[in-house]
Amino acid sequence: MSRLYDFHGGIHPPQHKDAATAWPIQPLPLPPQLYIALAQSVGNAARPTVSVGQQVLKGQQLAQLDGRLSAAVHAPTSGTITAIGPHPFAHPSGLPVETITLQPDGLDSWQPRSPLAWQDASPAQLRSHLQDMGVVGLGGAVFPTHLKLAASPLATLVVNGAECEPFISCDDMLMRERAAGIVDGIRIAAHALQAGQVLIGIEDNKPQAIAAMQAACAGTPYRVVTIPTKYPSGGAKQLIRILTGIEVPHGTRATDLGVQCLNVGTLYAMARAVLHGEPLLSRIVTVTGAVAHAANYEVAIGTPLAWLLQQAGIADTQAEVIMGGPMMGITLPDLHAGLPKAGNCLIAKSAALFPPRPPEQACIRCGDCASVCPAQLQPMDLFWFAKSRNFGKAQERHLFDCIECGACSYVCPSQIPLVDYYRFAKSEIWAAERDKKNASLARQRHAFRQFRIERDKSEKAARLAARAAEQAAKLATQAANPAAASAAPAASGMDDAKKAAIAAALARAAAQKEAKPLSEQHTSGLDDAKQAAIQAAMARAAARKAAADAAKAADAANPDSPPAATPAQTGMDDAKRAAVEAAMARATARKAAAQAQKDASE
């Protein structure tokens, strides 16, 4: 028995798990339609590889991944693609997403499956296999699993069977009934990660799951660790803390500290994908609350949620339904959506289970929230800052370390939905950052426009100077007595040189103007430094060009005509001055850039 560590705070809400765990995992018939959304991972939506009208086999790829965080999507059964387009999605925004509609043909006929010989496969092969199989984290975060197998060797693999949220019991039932499959997944993951030890954390309210996992782990070095029931011990960071004592700070990856955490459902899916070549086509879903047949169902991805609830005997079809748990779940905006890979639990609300929250009262700073916060934040202060839109202060007090577990909202005697305030503050901060980025882009565009205008101006000046000089030279060669004749044209050459000098001065001024205020902005660090460097380079180029043009003009104004020497000399002096000024502009710009870089690095 290994030592357990505690984490700060936490709550003990009523469990409500018994209703659904009274039954074994229930199979379901296929629904008349499947709505398979293409956004099934935290990354980009997958790109469809099938077309409307096409016949597909079970397990056939419907959409391919698009980018690193994306995951492929497959046909949960054989049938016909009847539509590809926007469809309601299980997301609080209620915004539709691209969805493939599949009409099952009832045959459920598989495409040829290709298991992976994982013991001989390279880690890269395993990762790409999992990505192709659409395996994502089934704990709710739907983070692509292949990315979590990238760090090896690893000290500890933490297996998450805590399932701390009330009502949810899909992991519990999976562990009770399919422990061997989970252990297969652990074996593969531990092999890929070269994990030094494997710790399986299960809350002590699941004795049957603990017994089943212990039996399945017999003869393996994997250790089943019983942990006290306390919400949110199933949060990855909390579970890692409980089992290893390691605290993973916000913004740090657990793997950097030698730990990785995988959910039991994910490991089971991984085992199916590797050992049987089955893509992620279905998952266990707890359907509970105000339904006649509360149980855990094995449900095809894309199954319409309304249909699923009907199968479970929902009492009130108008009832609000939560997807996820009562602490962190979302109220579904539209039950026409298909089951997403993230859908671990559906709870039909009833007034008895979910009495309406009393009206919000003033915060009395009682500090109950702080005493239950697993991130050890001061939620009442964050609430105060969020409410007064003092977002800087909220960030300073580590708003982004908040894992939105809702423990603070749960205990608040003033009945304040605290997490809503934190989400609001976070989204406002993100929006402000987006705006800032856009503004800096606009500034860059503006700076380039200024540069272009000035470049055109100086080019024009140079052309004029060249023409004038040509004329002067012509006149100089034509005239028998050049001294008198060349005075005027050389003077015009001088004018042009002056113009070039002015252009250089303008460039310098522009460089100064753009570089200075930027250097004073510490906030958007590198971007500004980069921008300042770009502008400095542009100013340098403009100045160099202006100087070269001026010099050229002066040279042109001074071709082998000794008598014209005096006026041409002035022209050359101007050119020199322009060159000096350009050099100065360059130096200023460089200094500004250096300053900006320094500020950014601070």
């Binding site: 960071k237 602490m327 003033a362 009682c366 749960y410």
Partner: protein, 341 residues
């Protein structure tokens, strides 16, 4: 309603919290009534109605919903704490005025519940003791033979039935007597404490009231409505100053026990420094806040111009709360060190 809110919550409300605080005051109130007569109840009633009336009036002016604010019972808690700090036989207008200051100036003008930087009851008390020191010092004589009608008559008309003397109903508090005695010089603390006013443990009758406050405070702690840190730190602060002084010159300085059982020390420990709104909220901050209140209580009692000092000590430390909280931020999960590390 947000689609992403936490869907369940403990069935707790501010009203229930406040109701429990009021319940915790009941033992102390019972002992007070036994010692000082029904005048205590009159003070409580006057304060309660004034507080509710004042709160409703200001909310109306501020165009805020009135019923929920009154129902949270926070005004009643303020009223009771104030009434229990005031002389039991003080004239009616004193408690009314004090409550008005507490609710209007101390609470509502800052924005109502949750926004007041100072403990409203202590604001009301401080205003009164600064403005009417003589009247505030006149406490009822414990266990005085004065019946209920006579007490009522005194509170509302400032007259007494024939045959009763003013001495029977008003005497200085033990803290006051001791202070005056020591200022006059010539007598040691132990000699002064021979007077019947001090009883066995330095506060005839009052010590039982004080112990009843402590009982209420313990119950609140058991109910998890107040933290242990602030009250214990406050008592430690009282000891930290009074004990060395007493050991050094017992003739000149009263014992720690005297300081604990006199004035509002134990009432403050259970019910006043534990006011969450105006107190510190960080674990370390609560220790600092409570400790310094305790230190200030004894320092002001012994070296200051007023006999009791809880109100001033609490108000001074209320001012320091933002700074204390800012500098004692606890360590965030996964981060090193406290503060803003």
């Amino acid at each position: 309603m947000s689609r992403h809110a936490t869907h369940i919550a403990q069935p707790v409300t501010v009203s229930r919290v406040m109701l429990k605080v009021l319940a915790a005051l009941l033992p102390g109130i019972a002992v007070s009534v036994y010692c000082f007569g029904p005048g205590v109840l009159v003070q409580l009633l006057l304060a309660t109605f004034t507080a509710l009336g004042a709160e409703a009036a200001v909310l109306r002016l501020r165009q805020r919903p009135i019923a929920p604010a009154l129902a949270d019972l926070s005004a009643v808690v303020t009223a009771w704490l104030l009434a229990l700090s005031m002389p039991p036989l003080g004239a009616w207008w004193m408690i009314v005025l004090a409550t008005l200051f507490a609710i209007v100036l101390g609470k509502q003008l800052y924005g109502g519940l949750g926004n007041n930087p100072f403990n409203p009851a202590m604001v009301g008390f401080a205003v009164m003791i600064v403005s009417f020191p003589a009247q505030m010092a006149a406490w009822g004589t414990p266990l005085a033979a004065l019946d209920a009608t006579a007490q009522l008559q005194w509170i509302f008309t400032h007259t007494l039935p024939a045959g009763s003397s003013v001495d029977a109903i008003s005497s200085a508090t033990p803290l006051d007597v001791l202070k005056t005695g020591l200022l006059q010089g010539g007598q040691a603390v132990s000699q002064l404490l021979q007077q019947p006013r001090f009883g066995q443990w330095g506060n005839a009758g009052g010590e039982w009231v004080a112990l009843a406050w402590a009982l209420g405070g313990l119950w609140l702690w058991q109910q998890k409505l107040i933290p242990w840190r602030t009250p214990l730190a406050m008592l430690a602060g009282v000891l930290a100053v009074s004990l060395p002084l007493w050991l050094w010159q017992p003739a000149q300085y009263a014992s720690p026990l005297f300081h604990l059982l006199n004035g509002a020390t134990l009432l403050a420990a259970g019910f006043i420094v534990t006011d969450p709104v105006s107190g510190s909220t960080t674990p370390l901050g609560r220790l600092i806040f409570g400790f310094l209140v305790g230190v200030l209580v004894v320092v002001i009692r012994v070296f200051g111009g007023f006999p009791d000092a809880v109100a001033f000590a609490v108000l001074i430390m209320n001012m320091a709360v933002p700074f204390i909280d800012h500098t004692t931020q606890p360590r965030v999960f996964g981060r090193k060190g406290g503060r803003h590390a």
